[in-house]
Amino acid sequence: MASVSMNRAAIITWFMLVCASIATWLLIEDQGLGAPSAVSLILLIAVVKVRMIVLHYMELKHAPLRWRLVFELWPVVAASLILGIWFFTGTAADCPPAS
């Protein structure tokens, strides 16, 4: 029975990851949303997706804290720095196209 519930958890995780991907797709289709909000939300969704994979697929919720920290911090630090540099640069959508 334990296996059946694990299988169900795996498919629920897959379903939520697909829903998160559809949310990302809706965000890029929505032209009304400003670039800072859209980029922030897209990166936030990416972090949530990575965390779901780390905890539920890699099963790091049962791993030693050191390993869990590496895989939990990586997406947060990477996305924060990407977003930080993005805000520092600003949206490129208004820039004149380069030759």
Partner: protein, 169 residues
């Protein structure tokens, strides 16, 4: 190691983008987010199939392990075919890593990621043969679990790579 390597490449891409945002945006607009989104769904499904293979091994349903491993590997192959079409279209349009910095990063990042996918497919093929020899099962989980961590890492790298290259306007 691989995650640190990609982390550095992500930061180099972002600092490069700072110097020429217009060039990077023009490059980004030539990428098809539908291709990238499809690739995301393929890799998510592949990861799920691998989880099912691990669960089959854990619950001693040995005949199911190889089937789930094949499903996972086929998703990896589908990812490769999709990437081949994507690269083909770029080369046909005359876009190569030498075109400009954006395409250099695009080909380096997606290329290294693709090498990881190809490596993962070889690993899945080896695991499939091992599964047929009943090398996995309760108490014989270490190899398949470590392989799973690698395959899921390939998936999560793509999840960050995709918005970075295709979506950030």
């Amino acid at each position: 190691m691989d995650m640190l390597f990609f982390f550095i490449l992500f930061m180099l891409f972002m600092t490069g983008r700072r110097e020429a945002p217009g060039l990077y945006e023009a490059g980004r607009l030539t990428l098809d987010p539908d291709f990238g989104g499809l690739n995301t769904l393929i890799l998510l499904t592949s990861s799920w199939s691998f989880v099912m293979a691990v669960e089959a091994a854990r619950s001693n349903r040995l005949e199911r392990i190889s089937r789930w491993l094949i499903a996972s590997g086929l998703c990896g192959v589908a990812f490769g075919i999709s990437k081949a079409f994507e690269y083909g279209a770029k080369f046909a349009a005359g876009l190569t890593p030498a075109t400009n910095d954006f395409y250099m990063y695009y080909f380096v990042l997606t290329g290294f990621h693709m090498l990881h996918v190809m490596g993962g497919c070889v690993m899945l093929l080896i695991f499939w043969r091992m599964a047929r020899r009943e090398a996995f099962g309760p108490g014989r989980m270490t190899v398949i679990e470590c392989g799973g961590i690698y395959w899921h890492m390939v998936d999560l790298l793509w999840i960050v790579l995709f918005p970075l290259l295709y979506l950030m306007r």
